[in-house]
Every structure is written in C-alpha cells, then in structure tokens.
Symmetry: C2
Subunit: 129 residues, 2 copies
DNA sequence: AATCAAAACAATAATAGTTACTGATATTAA
DNA sequence: TTAATATCAGTAACTATTATTGTTTTGATT
C-alpha cells in the first residue's frame, strides 16, 4: 500500500477528475492551482510511483512526452492525428491476440499494449462542415 | 524518390544487415566503423527522412530512445522484459482489431500499433538452466 | 568532363523531457 | 509525542533529439 501525501493525493485527484490523459506538465499546471508551490520534480516523482504501484497508467504513445491516465483498468486508447487528442476506447479485450502472437514464438507473451489512430469524432464533425 | 548519399546509404545498409532494432546511438556507433567522421546529427536527420519516406520503421515502444527497423513491411514486435531485446513476431495481420475498436466509436480508425511483451525464447532458456 | 543549384554534410549549440541531488519538512507507526 | 522514514521544494544535471551555420557533396545538365 502506497503512502499518502497532500501532493500525491492532489495529483491522483486531478487525474481522476479528467478524461484528457494529460502530460506531466499539464498535471503540474493543474495541481498548482491548489498547491501553488508544488514542484515539477514532485509531479514526476509521484507520477512514476503511482504508475509503478498500478494506481495510474502511463501512456507512451510516441509523442514527445508521456501521458497519464487515472483509470488503471486495462483499456485501449485512440490518438487523433488531427487534433492530437487521446481518448478512451470502449471495447472488449483483445486477449486473444496474445495467443495469435505466441504461435510459433518460443518466448512467453505476458501482454501487449496497443494504440489506435485516425480521426476522432469531433474532428470528423468539423470536416463535415 | 529519395536522394542518395554515402552516409544515408551506409545507415540503410546497416539497418538491413541486422535484426536488432537499434537505437540512433547504436546506428551511429556502427556506421562510424565505415565512416568515422559521420556526425550523430546526420544519423538522426537521415533516420527521420528514411522513416518519413517509408523506407524504414521507427519503433517508439516506451523506452528512453526510439528504435529503428530496416524492414518497412508491417509487422509486430516483441519486447523482452528480461533483457530488453526487441524482436520480430511472425504473425498474420490483426487488421480486424481496427473494426472491433471502431464499433460504437464515432471517429475513423485508420490503423493501430501494438507491441507484445514478456520473456523472449533466449531468456526463457536461461531460466530453465 | 565541367558547371551549378539543391541537398546533405560535420560540428556544435540549443531545446525539451525527465531524473538526481540537497537540506528542510511532513507523515506514519509506535 | 517522538523517532524513523518518506516526501518535499528548489535546482542542477542528464539524455535524447532537433536546429543552426557555413562547407562539401551529389546528380542533373550541358
């Protein structure tokens, strides 16, 4: 069980309050509204600890900075090539693809991570106008 | 059609000669054996151009540095949590998961990228000893 | 082969994201 | 309440990558 601190709780609260998959920098900016003198180093340290402990997810989806997700349940993400937004995908698990991947491979497949990309509903709407 | 240069060809040759999915730094070290005064900036610039033109693949799989693959054909990769090695997976495409992901999602799914992880054949062998 | 503009080069400075260090402060278990 | 430990703020350092600059190479055209 992970210890508590005002800073850590505030970071976790912020992540729970949004579906926007923010970067460390964005977390910092938002948490600073409540704890003005929190330092960026503290944000990084706690994001790392929370990701390590499994309380949040770290998303490394190829951009310049990692993103974080307050929902630690296994789920998939979608990256919009138009606006850069990262959104959740509601879909049933793809555990079976581990079996497909393991066929003929000598090693042990423990899991996978996958990102989908394209054009999000909002940007599709704008194009239609 | 992309222009040629001694440096660019050497980078591409090296990537074609290995299945090890090297980082930019590793490419640099190896190409330097043939072109001792090539600069790291040139390696980065050419890796970007080759990835852009579709001649190689860039793998952003969550580590600190990107990796590159001289085989531009769509295929999947496996990351060993023991030794850090990145290997190719021989498996049939997973295009159907785009359809699964798109069900009930308002946007347009153009593609996905996925990485599998676990313990590679080599490391499994060592554990057995 | 000589010319010439575009592209690429080496070298290096700069940037961005992240991690490490330090002495001070807060948290937790007893 | 206290003592041990973890965390903090502030800041320096580090790493991967990109940008800049003046020079050289490339390749199409004579």
């Amino acid at each position: 069980m992970i210890k508590h601190s005002r800073q850590r709780d505030a970071i976790l609260d912020y992540l729970h309050s949004t579906k926007s998959h923010p970067t460390a920098e964005t977390v910092y900016e938002n948490v600073r509204e409540n704890i003005p003198n929190i330092s960026l180093g503290t944000v990084y340290r706690n994001l790392n600890m929370l990701a390590e402990s499994g309380d949040i997810l770290r998303l490394s989806c190829g951009g310049t900075s990692d993103r974080y997700d307050g929902n630690p349940e296994q789920h998939y993400h979608f990256l919009c090539k138009e606006c850069g937004r990262v959104s959740d995908l509601e879909m049933s698990g793809l555990e079976h693809i581990n079996v497909i991947a393991g066929a003929g491979f000598g090693g042990t497949i423990e899991g996978h991570f996958a990102y989908f990309y394209g054009c999000c509903p909002e940007c599709n709407g704008e194009k239609a106008n």
